[in-house]
Symmetry: C2
Subunit: 410 residues, 2 copies
């Protein structure tokens, strides 16, 4: 007998029929002898409806009251799913965040979980009940209803799994797992049987948005076995997201190719090479709420250096304007140049830590296709390059093949 | 400075604009120096929407889970109204039933209030806050969410007023008070400045459905000053519902004329006059879930009597069928006769206790118009007669005039 936490998102519970489907799946799982806790989101569209209602009253809704309102979305789902389980002859009981209780700080609309009281849930599981918990919500020490922010249901699932020391936390989504890269770009892309938390974090931030980043960090921290599965397919093992596994490290060096299309590249040339210069360049950009991704500064010559970074393409014009009008004259840089048609490609894998030659293999592969590398940035488990956007698909395909990602896992 | 509890129903908070209206009214009241607690229902239509959703999952929804679902309706309203109050620069804070906490028994969907913890609310009132409480809901001793049944928001308002020892509980509805009779039948009908709880109970049960019966009983029991007002009119004092007032008794003998249109009258004739016969007649009717209103049994002659009662017109055929097929042969009654076009008219007033002649005045007034009385039933503060439906409006009009109800109150 295993204790499993399953989390179903808004699309999976988007209608009474879909809720019945989830109930059937949970009932099957329970019949196999498992203890099951189900965490659910609001029915798709419901949170948006409630937020819109709040905005009809206040342009900037009061955060405490907004939480009171939007937390009702999940509360409706837990009731409906519990009913649907009873229709299958399964004992079921719903819990709001406050009923659990999932204690959070008081940062309304983006609260963080402080602790989870697992006693009531454990008591019901021992009585052979399926426990249905409202995701996304909690309660602060004063009894105020809080929410964890969009996507917070994933975090609820992981946090409950951690508190209950569950054998596994299964996140059901509309994809059936994590892939070596986007199958729309590389048809040979393969579902990974497993991936480490760190790799997942690098893949997520690159746009493979399967899970909330925060829930992945949480799972890593509390060593929760996390699995991504499709809520629309009956079979399939999904992708297991694990803490680092030394055995595996020896085998798969690279887990996937991540990429990001809509990048723009900006270089401030002839920057005086002195302390504080990075802040003088990026400060005004950040003040304008423009997110900066890769940042590169080379060693300079003759007391001057070139400073490059990437921004989202939508913010390219705004960033260029700030740099030319405010930064360049102020710091006495020679020139500001940019390119709004850049793309980022990354190879990700914990294995690269102990394997030399990954970078050179990546660069050689791209060179053989005549793809010029404009910027390079590396982390412990990732190498990213910025290239001309027109080569993006080609680069992803050749790298996917070069690192053997189209081969079945051992 | 007075402490006032105001209750607004679903129609009054049926849209964001109407919620803003309520907020404006509450803000005005607060600005006069009052402490205000507002109790609200779900936005009109919302409870029905949620119940329908539950019925899509279960034909007979699980009561505990149904409460989890339908209690969200009021939860949304308290958040929205609190926001709207803040827009008026008024400090406001919302409370669910559980947050108050309104402790109830565990009879889901029809729970009864056991106690109310007034400490949190009092604390907020002292901080100059308007407190907005979700009507209709509570929490049992195990932390389960409960609801009080339809119309329970009135009861929440009265119970909170009792717990806080409020100076007044104001129930805002779509009528501006309690009338001497239905103004659609008698244009001269007058809004009563006050009415006693007992009279109100008699008026309510007769179809003048302004307030939930239960909340009136509750207010009477805990001596809460209850006032019915219109939520759509800015001015107006509504009708005060009071505990019995000896001064008033000497003046107004009759407070109003209540009536009920859709009655049907059934008489079982030639019933053997022996113990248990009433049960043998009404048992099968009640087993078929048919509500019986007036019941009359006259003293019999020659060991036989006639037994009459009224039912709702929709159930007349069903009741007649049961009586003819099951009851009549079983008890050996002579005949079952009935009339589906009956109506009931009542004069109501605490004053009649100490004044003789009310009944004779009523009967004479009807006789003068040639209206035949088919049945008579009396209670301490009410005399009801059953008449042919076609005379209903005429009877109400002449009685209204005969008892001086069209005259201004002293």
């Amino acid at each position: 007998m295993a204790l499993i936490v399953q989390k179903y998102g808004g699309t999976s519970v988007g209608s009474p029929d879909r809720i019945k489907n989830v109930a059937r799946r949970v009932a099957k799982f329970k019949a196999l002898g498992n203890q099951v806790v189900v965490v659910v989101s609001a029915m798709s569209g419901e949170t948006n409806r409630l937020v819109a209602l709040a905005h009809e009253i206040q342009k900037h809704p009061d955060p405490r009251e907004l939480d009171v309102i939007i937390s009702t979305g999940e509360q409706v789902t837990i009731g409906l799913l519990s009913m649907a389980l009873k229709e299958h002859g399964v004992k079921a009981k719903s819990y709001t965040g406050a009923q659990v209780k999932i204690l959070t700080d008081s940062a309304h609309t983006k609260a963080r979980i402080v602790s989870i009281d697992e006693q009531n849930i454990m008591g019901d599981l021992e009585k052979d009940c399926v426990v249905v918990v409202a995701g996304f919500q909690g309660v602060d020490e004063h009894g105020n209803i809080t929410t964890l922010g969009r996507g917070g249901s994933d975090t609820t699932g992981v946090a409950i799994a951690a508190a209950l020391r569950a054998d596994e936390c299964q996140i059901y989504t509309d994809v059936d797992g994590v892939y070596t890269t986007d199958p729309r770009v590389v048809p040979e892309a393969r579902r990974l049987k497993s991936i480490t938390f760190e790799e997942m974090l690098e893949m997520s931030s690159m746009g493979s948005k399967v899970l909330q980043l925060r829930s992945v960090e949480f799972a890593g921290k509390y060593k929760v076995k996390l699995r991504v599965l499709s809520s629309f397919e009956e079979e399939g093992e999904g992708t297991l997201i694990t803490v680092e596994d030394n055995d595996k490290m020896e085998q798969a060096i690279i887990s996937g190719i991540a990429f990001n299309r809509d990048e723009a590249k900006i270089t401030v040339m002839g920057v005086p090479d002195k302390p504080g210069i990075a802040y003088q360049i990026l400060g005004p950009v950040s003040d304008a709420n423009i997110d900066v991704d890769i940042i590169i500064q080379n060693v300079g010559e003759d007391g001057a250096t070139d400073f490059s970074f990437t921004v989202h393409r939508n913010e390219y014009a705004k960033a260029m304007d700030i740099l030319k009008s405010k930064v360049q004259p102020h710091i006495g840089a020679r020139e500001v140049i940019g390119d709004s048609r850049a793309a980022k490609v990354s190879v990700v894998g914990v294995g690269m830590r102990s394997h030399v030659g990954i970078a050179s293999k990546m660069f050689r592969t791209l060179a053989e296709e005549g793809i010029n590398i404009q910027m390079i940035s590396t982390s412990e488990i990732k190498i990213s390059v910025v290239i001309d956007e027109k080569y993006l698909e080609l680069a992803v395909r050749v790298l996917h093949k070069a690192f053997g990602l189209d081969q079945e896992e051992a």
